[in-house]
């Protein structure tokens, strides 16, 4: 029997009337990587926040090395050598890596930044990180920031490391590097708890898996004795087909012809250079790339929200049969022509929806101009809201609930549902399944497929390569604002796309 490093017994936590965790019992051993698996809203993060002192459990006990402890604040958690790496990095942008790492520490030997910098370097070398302790956070890449987070908890001598969806923002290569580091830490005697909803990562990395579903503890299995299907079943309660349906594209005609567009952002950085592609009706065009490779700018350019320095975006209007250059149009004209953008940013609410307004009002953001009188007509948007709620299974008390109070996944359903409802000819969906659980993701995939069958040119920007490969017909890969490759989604491999995603960057670094 392995030695338990941390044990949770009957932990319960509620927020108002919402039960986030109910009677959860989980044990993590020394020298072990434990995965906590669950859909969105299953209470994984809440549970871990209770171990790290951000929240306090309503009921239940926590044992560390066999002794019962009370963790009331992050400080208490440090005391018990628990370190958490949050999904959203908790770093101060204008501080250096070292300053962030020593933040909150009370050393007896006083404040000595130079010594801290040295110690950070040592830790980096020991576990195989590459890090510059004196670099400012705002100059760092996502993966570097994560490294700072991990070193921060190691610096404090943490024995139990909790990582909340650590791979969500990493490229496949970076993920492999992280996993290697985690394995090295495990062999060094640490306990690693990793929160995730990516099954293949669970299987490749962890020793055991604990599954949560809707806040309840379902069970723990050894990774070696399970497989994807069994885990999915535990996670969702019913078997979800892992295959996304994909029809052969029919009656394809060129709908959108993007020619040599260039875009320079406000900081003077070239974010798009010489991007050319064609989106055809009845086809799903995937756009792959590491976050921030120009996906956002590209879609915004098509929607008329981004100024281009040159190039053209030719749009073939199916109603009139005429070809028009979208660069000369205002965003509203482009929208009225049927080009629709639904962009789900990292914080999910940042673009497209107003958090404090209810679902009906958010529907009206797109349709208020249709009213004939000076007063708002609420009937049509209300019907639309009700339809989206029932068709997409949006979990909400009613259509008059502020969007802010819905969970992330439900917010996204509202956003995507509204754009689809406008019967577009070009539908651009950026990260529509970002952070969604499997069931909701499939609902979105089906919606996109339905649009494809209707002859819409769908452009899908995604981060999960598996999904891109299964959902799309054609994939263009963006890397640092350039198209580094166009592949057929039916025949390509994940490795090929992953390589294309990082290819030209490496070339630039070598130059």
């Amino acid at each position: 029997m392995a030695e338990a490093a941390i044990e949770l017994r009957n932990i319960t936590k509620t927020f108002g009337s919402v039960v986030a965790n109910k009677n959860v019992c989980i044990t993590a051993n020394k020298n072990e990587i434990l995965s906590i698996l669950g859909e969105n809203g299953s209470g994984k993060t809440t549970l871990m926040n209770m171990i790290s002192g951000i929240y306090f459990p309503d009921e239940g006990q926590i044992f560390i090395n066999g002794e019962e402890v009370v963790i009331r604040s992050p400080k208490d958690a440090f005391k018990y050598k628990i370190g958490m790496i949050h999904q959203h990095f908790k770093l101060v942008d204008v501080f250096t890596a070292a300053e962030n790492i020593i933040l909150g520490l009370e050393d007896e030997d006083g404040y000595d930044l130079k010594k801290s910098v040295e110690k950070v370097r040592e830790i980096g070398e020991r576990y195989g990180f590459t890090i510059d302790p004196e670099k400012k956070i705002y100059e760092m890449s996502v993966s570097e920031k994560q490294t700072v987070e991990i070193i921060r908890v190691l610096y404090r001598g943490a024995d139990i490391l909790i990582l909340d969806e650590p791979t969500a923002v990493l490229t496949p290569q970076e993920t492999q590097k992280l996993f290697a580091v985690l394995r090295r830490m495990r062999d060094d005697g640490k306990t690693i708890i990793i929160i995730t909803h990516k099954l293949h990562e669970v299987l490749s990395l962890s020793d055991r898996v604990s599954v949560l579903r809707k806040g309840e503890y379902i069970g723990t299995v050894k990774t070696a004795e399970t497989d994807e299907n069994k885990l999915t079943e535990m996670m969702v309660g019913k078997k979800v087909s892992l295959n996304i349906e994909r029809d052969e594209p029919k009656d394809c005609v060129d709908r959108l012809n993007v020619q040599n567009i260039n875009c320079i952002n406000r900081e003077g950085v070239t974010v798009l250079s010489n991007v050319s592609f064609t989106a055809r009706s009845g086809e799903i065009l995937g756009i792959a790339g590491i976050a921030g490779s120009g996906q956002r700018e590209l879609l915004e350019a098509i929607a008329g929200l981004q100024k281009l320095s040159n190039g053209s975006i030719m749009y073939l209007d199916p109603k009139t049969g005429e070809t028009e250059n979208l660069r000369d149009k205002t965003p509203m004209e482009i929208r009225d022509m049927g080009v629709r953008l639904s962009f789900v940013p990292e914080d999910r609410l940042g673009m497209g929806l107003v958090g404090n307004m209810d679902i009906v009002d958010n529907m009206m953001l797109r349709s208020y101009r249709k009213g004939k009188t000076v007063f708002l007509e609420r009937k049509a948007p209300k019907d639309l809201a009700e339809e989206i709620i029932s068709r997409l299974e949006v979990v909400t008390p009613d259509a008059n609930t502020p969007v802010r109070r819905l969970s992330g996944g439900n917010v996204q359903k509202v956003l995507v549902g509204r754009e689809i409802a406008a019967a577009p000819t070009v539908l651009m969906a950026a990260y529509p399944v970002r952070g969604l659980d499997i069931n909701s993701s499939y609902t979105i995939y089906n919606l996109l497929n339905e649009q494809k069958r209707k002859g819409v040119a769908v452009i899908f920007v995604g981060e999960d390569l598996d999904v891109l490969l299964e959902l799309c017909d054609k994939i263009i890969v963006l890397s640092a604002g350039k198209i580094s490759g166009v592949v057929d989604a039916r025949t390509t491999t994940k490795e090929e796309v992953g390589l294309l995603m990082t290819k030209s960057q490496e070339v630039e670094e070598n130059e």
Binding site: P74, M84, V92, V94, E99, G104, L105
Partner: protein, 324 residues
């Protein structure tokens, strides 16, 4: 002539320096305290009241108590106002702008009420004046007059001037070089991060706001005790409180830059007096100069957009740990 201008600029700048140092410390904790003008007013009137009651209560005021009692009264008065601000914005999470503006209105009203009526309440009439106390505060170093221009620029002030500069330098050092400073800056930049790192965000916010308020209050106190020589005039403090807040921006949230900035602002503030033939309206335009300079600084720093020169990232936002 030159020495006189510098001397006048410094004298004008000191209230602003106290105010801006206090506000910088406050803002570094993420609290945008627009109550500073009111707090500075409060620091002035509380000090005057302390001095007035002490002078009334004894036949021959002793120099030591004349210094200590008004100083403590001033610190308590402004700290109390800052404490009200802290309680409203930190514990009750009220809107910082609204709370601050309300406190400014309150502080100015409080000052004008007691400043204008204290002597009447005690049946004496006449202006509120604490000349005996003020004379102690105005005491300069004895050898200042012997050193000519040099002495005039550097040694011809009461001790509150030096205290302002020392406090600014210490604040700069604490913010930049100590763990407390690092933690305070973290609270103002990203309270969630600071919280997760085990820093007591509420404690830091309270302490920074109250200490900052007390320091800012000394600006009003200096103005009454030293600059005007102990006689209170309603509205005499003018818009110096707002200038102090403008100086925070001008100094890029660095107390040591605030020292230089305060002299520049002070100089600009009195520039009209040294240009002959100005009409009243033209001199009013000159009074705008510090604000114009502040806007220029804002434009330049915004264009350069260097992260270090921006206000604390979470300035003006309330922090609540379990917000979802």
């Amino acid at each position: 002539m030159f020495a006189t201008i510098i001397n006048k600029a410094i004298v004008q700048g000191i209230p602003l320096l106290y105010g801006s140092t206090g506000e910088i410390i406050t803002e570094k904790s993420g609290n945008l305290n627009l109550g500073i003008p009111g707090i500075m007013y409060m620091g002035g009137i509380a000090g005057v009241m302390g001095a007035y009651f002490y002078e009334k209560s004894v036949a021959v005021p002793s120099p030591v108590w004349c210094i200590i009692i008004p100083l403590i009264a001033s610190l308590i008065g402004s700290a109390l106002l800052a404490l009200i601000y802290s309680f409203l914005t930190i514990s009750l999470r009220a809107n910082q702008n609204v709370t601050g503006l309300a406190l400014t209105t309150f502080g100015v009203g409080f000052g004008d009420f007691f400043g204008g009526s204290l002597t009447k309440i005690f049946g004496e009439g006449g202006n509120l004046s604490v000349k005996v106390t003020a004379d102690y505060y105005k005491t300069t170093l004895p050898f200042a007059d012997d050193l000519g221009a040099f002495g005039k620029i550097f040694f011809s002030y009461g001790f509150l001037v030096y205290l302002a500069i020392i406090i600014a330098l210490i604040s700069a050092w604490v913010l930049k070089k100590t763990r407390v400073g690092l933690h305070l800056r973290a609270v103002g930049e990203n309270p969630a991060t600071a919280d997760a790192a085990g820093i007591n965000v509420t404690k830091y916010k309270y302490l920074a706001t109250v200490i900052g308020g007390a320091i800012a209050g000394l600006g009003g106190f200096y103005f009454i005790m030293d600059y005007t020589g102990g006689s209170w005039t309603n509205g005499g403090f003018g818009d110096r409180g707002w200038l102090a807040i403008a100086l925070v921006i001008f100094a890029l949230w660095k107390p040591n830059l605030g020292i230089i900035g305060s002299v520049i602002f002070g100089g600009l503030y009195i520039a009209y007096a040294y240009i002959s033939g100005l009409s009243r309206s033209a001199s009013a335009i000159f009074n705008m100069l510090p604000y114009v300079v502040t806007i220029l600084v804002l434009i330049i720093t915004s264009i350069r957009s260097k992260k270090e020169n921006q206000p604390p990232a979470s300035l003006g936002l309330a922090y609540f740990r379990e917000e979802r």
